[in-house]
Symmetry: C2
Subunit: 427 residues, 2 copies
């Protein structure tokens, strides 16, 4: 290393630790704020965001110009772009989070021991949350808002392509939360595009309590590999819809079409359709016709192709692929047992649905499919915090430890035990 590089490296490490220390101090204040103070701050932040629309759009133009120069195109460029409607969407999201019940301080359980000790399990914030995401400026608002609602300090690290937009959004949020009397460091954006900053975040285990990566598979995998801090990870959504032998055909058609095609790029989109051999002949052709009419590419196993020769051949890789596109893999299986086996083998433990009028088959699927969300006679696209009534979410956790499934404000909390005695000692 040259001396200049070493100095830069040391500077960044020191800068990241300074951010962590400020976050730790802010978290101590946030943890003890009454609900009303946090609500006021969220509303003030929404208001400042609306007032700052002009400067946020100007910052976004810088990002868009730089991205165009770098040759960024398609969905990524679309996610990066802000307009007045999208900024209003972010502000509305903060207002929605402001309206959520405050989870902190809730007495989750309490009991008295024979020796008279009163034990309470009380909900507390997690502390400092590090959120690492890609170039989606709207996540800056959502993540900051959910952290404030749950009494956590946030350190945000957005994708470098959205740096100017995120900086402008965080500036507006800070104006709101400071005006409402909250610490300025309640929400901080990492003020550099240097990728090494992420490495520092992942090892500052004394200053950051939880890491939430939000983005593509390679980002999540890097974070899971490198982090010395517990991770709430949303790995991928390889979701299935299974049409059982006892499925109502009209429900199966409507649910499958919605589950695949309502929005193909969301994590709750179905990627594989499984159909019970018992009804493949009657149910598969109309379902596939609906999908084809909606311009969905179909890739099937031999039995599916025997019923519909236009279906392209699926390879082993297809069963393990989250397309996030208008593509569906299709397989004929041996009843609910075959469906469960396939889902548990190839799925990502995210969201899976059964369509059936047979209650026993439904219960078996709901019980045995090992996923965060299992649905009966409804679309996998309901996998969403807002659809669950949580107001907003920071992602869907596909891990085993809680929080599992949609992660809203309540899921960004922990608990402690308060024990009240009158002089008890242990015999």
């Amino acid at each position: 290393m040259t001396a200049a590089v070493m100095t830069k490296t040391q500077d960044l490490a020191a800068e990241m630790r300074a951010i962590g220390l400020k976050a730790r101090d802010a978290a101590a204040v946030l943890a003890r704020l009454p609900a009303a103070a946090k609500t006021a701050a969220l509303k003030a932040a929404a208001s400042e965001l609306r007032k700052g629309t002009g400067e946020i759009l100007a910052a976004n133009e810088c990002d868009m110009a730089e991205a165009a120069e770098k040759g960024v195109v398609g969905a990524m460029l679309d996610r990066l772009k802000l307009d007045e409607k999208r900024i209003e969407g972010i502000a509305k999201g903060l207002d929605d989070v402001a309206a959520l019940p405050d989870p902190v301080g809730e007495i989750m359980a309490s009991w008295t021991r024979p020796n008279g000790l009163l034990i309470e399990r009380v909900r507390v914030p997690l502390g400092v949350i590090g959120i690492i995401y890609e170039a989606r400026p709207n996540v800056t608002g959502d993540a900051g808002g959910l952290c404030i609602r749950s009494g956590n300090a946030a350190i945000l690290r957005g994708g470098s392509e959205s740096f100017h937009s995120s900086t402008a959004i965080v500036a507006a949020l800070k104006r709101g939360i400071v005006a409402a009397g909250l610490p300025e460091a309640s929400v901080q954006l990492v003020p550099t595009r240097d990728r090494a900053a992420v490495g520092h975040m992942l090892t500052m285990s004394d200053l950051i309590d939880i890491i939430v990566p939000r983005g593509g598979k390679s980002l999540i995998e890097r974070v899971q590999r490198e982090s010395r801090i517990p991770v709430i990870a949303h790995l991928e959504g390889l979701c299935h819809t299974y049409v059982d032998g006892a499925a109502d055909l009209e429900k199966a058609r409507a649910i499958t079409l919605n589950a695949k095609m309502r929005r193909v790029g969301v994590c709750g989109a179905t990627e594989t359709l499984l159909v019970d051999r018992a009804v493949a002949k009657t149910h598969l052709p109309p379902i596939l016709a609906d999908l084809r009419a909606a311009s969905c590419e179909l890739r099937g196993d031999a039995e599916t192709r025997a019923l519909d020769p236009q279906v392209l051949p699926a390879t082993e890789e297809d069963w393990a692929t989250e397309y996030l596109d208008a593509i569906l893999s299709v397989k004929v299986v041996d009843g609910v047992a075959g469906a469960i086996r396939h889902v548990n083998h190839y799925g990502s433990h995210h969201t899976d649905a059964i369509v059936t009028e047979d209650q026993a088959a439904a219960e078996r699927f709901l019980d045995e499919v090992d996923s965060a969300i299992v649905l009966h006679n409804s679309s996998t696209q309901f996998a969403d915090g807002a659809e669950f009534g949580m107001g907003a979410e920071i992602g869907i956790s596909t891990g085993r430890l809680p929080p599992r499934g949609p992660v809203g404000a309540e899921q960004l909390t922990s608990y402690k035990y308060r024990v009240r005695g009158t002089g008890q000692v242990r015999p």
Copy 2:
């Protein structure tokens, strides 16, 4: 690497994966067992353990002889030793766990959305739990029992000095659980003393869901550093008792003596006494006299030593040391604010207590001390799952994410969402 070493390494990797695969299959069966089947298996395991006392004692003699040869002495040798009473203690522990309510299947919350979807959050096992511990044969029984109760498969890796004892204990457990119809692989012991086996466990993230290290600081730190799997860690118990200016002297004396000296080697033992300057002159001398009479070594700051010159000088290191011995560090602080600052700075977020008759001071301490367990007017030695009414525990989690505090059967579970619809699709 020589060819022989390489073969051995590959063999171990394959052997560990085979254990993981068997555990994964067992977990799928365990997750769906009714409570009664698990209860029967635990009782049968307790019974087989009692019947197997002779062979377990013989195995323990092998361990004791090998340990003596290696020069193991003191507390470690004592923890390794089994006798009829200790084996009865392990069997009784299994009976106690059998009597606990079954956490699996509990509907933790349910609500209906405006579109008619019924959402249920239902408790499920974690899956496969890897438990890595030191040479304490009793942990083999406790850990295996708690995993069965919570519907998880267990892979146990005990300290190499207790290898024969743990092998005999697991053999007895297996006889019981197999007789009760549970899969033999519900509880498996890693069948080698090779330390490389731990490294394999920590990276088998597709086959092990959670790692629970139980033991000394170096073990926990190794696990936290190397694990690619989420860890429920019990780091250390640097617990404090704070005697406030409004403390009742008799309560303060009884609680401090108990918190330090009831058992000095447990994680809930107080390691540092903090005393409010307002009552140092009146309260500190009798409290220190009690401790000295109980043969506790005292190390204090300058103010403490000014009041009691027999107290040895404490260094900065003392405030950060978990003695697990008859040693106490003592410091005079500025009221409850000073106590909170000290605890949050030097403590391990485990268990801390305030002694006071001032309700406002108590509430402030309970609120602001950032520990898994905070107590008012009671001994820190109550930091124990059984004392909390959880029946048994696998440790006290000092992490921030749940589970935090005592980890019993309920804390070894997660949840999933079951969503019941009638054909709903997302608009």
